[in-house]
Amino acid sequence: MMNKLNFLKPDRKNLNTYLYSGSFLFFIAIFDVFLSSFFKINITSFLPNLVSFLLPLILGILGLHLIRIEFSGIKNLDLLNKNINTNNFNATLTLIIIFAIIKSIAPVTSWFFIDANIAGDTKEACTGSGACWTYIKIWLRRFIYGMYPNELQWRINISFILLIALAFVGYFPSEKLRKFLTLYYVAIYPIIAFILIYYLISGGTFGLVWVETGAWGGLSLTFIVSFFCLIFCFPVGMFLALGRRSQLPTVRYISVGFIEFWRGVPLITVLFMSSVMFPMFLPEDFFMDKLVRVIIAISLFEAAYVAEVIRGGLQALPRGQYDAAKSLGMGYWKMHIFVILPQALKLVIPGIANTFLALVKDTPLIFVVGLLELVGMLNLAKTNPEWLGFAMEGYVFAAIIFWIICYAMSKYSYNLELKYKTDR
């Protein structure tokens, strides 16, 4: 029996007719875009420009309209309709996204891989129209270690490996030592880290050649700056948060003023302050290294943000915890160290992780005081007369590295959030 076809409202009768004609139109549309993107062939070139341009979209919408059959009984079709094809508007957006993906695959892959070069040591080796990864290959050492002398770079490697290894110590202590973990991370670890970096990377003693901080740079400097700022801003932020919630008016107002001041100004002016204004505030014969000034400035800046995050955790604790601690006769410090802070800090771990993420993303700003971490090194390499014209490769490279670091951190903080969410 042949049912009457109603193309305005496809239904289950004549299912196959709708299905076949719809998929045919849809695949014609995809095929057209595919050909024009990968092989630069326009099969509809006989039509007027605008019509030829819009034809795949129109065909696709018609096709998707035809296969939009409610309760078709075919599982995959229903799933498809439910997810990407609920109405004409949705179908249009779906098509635009699919076309955009197909259109962008060809140029992106050819730039990244097919037409790209990585062989050779000079600019002349880059003959393709795509990326010149030779540039990245040759400059890689500079991008990672900055101007640090090549033959001394093992010092940076060893100290980083040691620091990472020492950070994992917390995972395997015996029960007896476990209570000293906090002390280890808050006090001992930073001191070890400082000693390592001071004596190993900076050198100057034990027969190691001294390398001035001006030569430090690249990705390793990004890590050093973020690492120290992370260590310093946490305790400062904690005291500021406690100060802001203090009963004592003077302490509270000073904390509020401090926090709001740093939160109200951009980091770049803070760095300006550390480089041009701060030396005016120090005794004349007192010299403070540029890197140290920068680390202090960023730490104070981030401490204000950490303080607000921790304050959120302190506010989220129920009053009962304070009352219970006080009723046991605990004083202010005892109450905070043993009752309040352990609970509050656990609540704010994700928030702090987010602040650290922002901190890592802010490190490139230290270029304003002349310290060249990864992005700064890129700008330096870009202006090298032998390697002009590869800005794009450099920025793409840095973007990939930063993206991996930041994405991993944000996923980690998200996992922490899930982990600690159900605890209370």
């Binding site: 002016t269 505030f281 920025y395």
Partner: protein, 383 residues
Amino acid sequence: MNSKVRKIIPQLITLLAVILIFGFFTFNAQINMDNRGIEFGFGFLSQESSFDVQFSLIDYDGSHSYARAYLVGLLNTLLVAFIGIIISTILGVIVGIARLSPNYLIERSAAFYVEFFRNIPLLLQIFFWYFAALRALPLPQNADSIFGVFYLTIKGLFVPRLVWENLDIFFYSLIAAVISIIVIRNYARKIQENQGKQLPVFSISIGLLIILPLLAFLTGVVSLGVEVPVLEQIATTSFIYKGGLGIPPELIALTLALSLYTATFIAECVRAGIQGISKGQKEAAASIGLTPNQILKLVIMPQALRIIIPPTTNQYLNLTKNSSLAAAIAYPDLVLVFAGTALMQTGRAIEIVSITMLTYLSISLAISLLMNWYNKKIAIKEK
């Protein structure tokens, strides 16, 4: 007595420490300035600046004062912040809603956008747009026009300039429209509270906004002309666009990067806000017979806005502060003009850095006060 002392002593110690630190700094600053023969003061602001600024909203050249240079920088900063806030809000709301779309592809693309742009440092993005993407644009003489009037070149975007006659009258008509809309809205609310009738306020407002300015045109008092940029040769290989409005590439790169970056955060705020409204609200509204549009307008949005506004305000503040990264690509904002060039010329580090910081501080405070006021206005009014 004992408890009183225990309260006073820590406060005294803190106060003393702060005073000591500040005193130490001022003391050193005094000595350092004496040694360099600088007198602390803001008199330099009225001196002639004798440097030029590439892009300025007000008349400015080297013969103007440092105060005027400061104003130029401030206006440029505000311009970037203003455009950035508008674009990032529009983009952020669209992406935030797209992240809740039932369409799998749309939801994934929005998520990809957010995860991609959020995890790359802003400075890197600004550099990318300025040094890599915009440098790939054609020279002025090779540029193809977009719709015949826009030219996107390596020297910037050239758009037609609107030439107004009697702009003030047009402006008054707009103000009159806004005032009458407010009056009508209050009247409609009264009607609704007293008689339960709903007036089509939205359509009336749109109508007024169009009709009143249109009247100003029709009566012939206000006229609008368009000045299209035209390519002109000034030397054998040098071309420029005459007429029209030139938007420098620095401004484009900066607004693009700032908007794309901040929009990801705003999108997350919007998503969280809409997700924060329980499903029951929507169902309850539907069950008393509201249409989907009314549900969105009267039930979902007023509640969602309450969750969305505070974090979005924070993002606006961040955008404004981040606009200071302009200095990295030589867009003449407050930091570059004032804390950069002016500081270099005068050597007055303390005064200039303090003024710059205080300016940002007041912008931040002003935005947060404004938003707090708005937030209070839309907060739940418990009767």
